[in-house]
């Protein structure tokens, strides 16, 4: 079954790169939705009930990635959706906070397509065909 993915980053450049990388992973993706911050991401989740994976940055205006992660994991509708953090933040405190809040994975920028693919394969195999 084809799946919907949500990419959240305030940088349009990174959203474009992730779109390209996701298309290269071989996953059966129906559509890739985009959001520029956590608030927009929650709106997308409300409007697109088919989203099965969220890739999000941490440092964003309005609502950051950790706040978004907390909102997703505390929602009865979305708590099952894996959230992968893709960020320049490499400090133990941020990584630890993301893990505590229920992040499914963590990829540091800069990243390669292979790193993204490897991370997603580990997280999504039974959820999405890769």
């Amino acid at each position: 079954m084809d799946s919907d993915v949500l990419v959240v980053d305030d940088s349009a450049a990174i959203r474009k790169i992730l779109q390209r990388v996701l298309r290269q992973t071989g996953m059966s993706i129906r559509s890739i939705h985009e959001a520029g911050d956590g608030q927009e991401a929650l709106e997308q989740l409300r409007n697109q009930p088919g989203i099965q994976l969220v890739l999000t940055d941490i440092n964003m205006p309005k609502m950051d990635g950790l706040q978004l992660l907390a909102a997703v994991k505390s929602s009865s509708d979305w708590h099952h959706i894996p959230v992968v953090m893709i960020t320049t933040e490499g400090g133990e405190s941020k990584v630890g906070e993301a893990v505590k809040l229920g992040a499914a994975g963590y990829v540091r920028k800069p990243f390669t397509a292979d790193q993204i693919k490897e991370k997603l394969a580990g997280i999504l195999e039974p959820v999405l065909p890769i």
Binding site: S11, A12, A13, K16, R20, G90, K109, P110, F111
Partner: protein, 176 residues
């Protein structure tokens, strides 16, 4: 190793890693200098990002419009011939990744630090000055004969008093 040497080395490693991973280019070397007093006049693209915590400062990347377009083309795998929103966004993200990586290296020595959202300026004949009095660490990387300039200034905040997270009785690894 002094804090200055640590930052210079971290910038060199970070630039090499970001360029090789995200732009498919090898960018080695990086000539170091210190900048004091009145900043140089800029023509082109400059991106700034703030660092905050027990130590605070600013990181920046500046380059010509041609180089900014090349950064965008290689990062997004598209053709960019003029500085537009995509180009400014690519330079901002490059700054976020390079200075973000330096910030992560520094956290091991200085404790937790925060990073602001980058700001990008494109124009001619302008000067950019930090309100702080700290001198700038400058590392210039030649790329196809044009300079890509990374700058960073960092100083302890009033409340920190060089509050490095060392065990009592151990020697400070950074001679500030």
């Amino acid at each position: 190793m002094s804090l200055q040497d640590f930052i210079v080395e971290s910038i060199r490693q970070s630039v090499a890693q970001v360029f090789s991973t995200m732009l498919g280019s090898e960018l080695g070397g990086g000539e170091f200098s210190l900048e004091n007093g009145t900043p140089e006049v800029n023509d082109g693209v400059v991106s700034f990002i703030g660092v905050a915590g027990a130590w605070a400062g600013t990181g920046s990347i500046s380059c010509s419009p041609t180089l900014a377009c090349r950064i965008c083309s290689q990062m997004l795998m598209t053709e960019s011939s003029a500085v537009d929103e995509d180009v400014l966004d690519a330079v901002a993200e490059l700054t976020n990744m390079v200075i973000g990586s330096v910030k992560t290296d520094l956290e091991g020595q200085l404790g937790p630090l925060g990073l602001s959202i980058p700001t990008v300026v494109f124009g001619k004949n302008f000067r950019a000055k930090s309100a702080g009095t700290t001198e700038w660490i400058v590392v210039r990387f030649p790329w196809d004969g044009e300079p890509l300039v990374i700058k960073m200034c960092l100083a302890p905040t009033e409340k920190s008093g060089h509050a490095l997270p060392h065990a009592i009785g151990t020697t400070c690894p950074l001679e500030v």
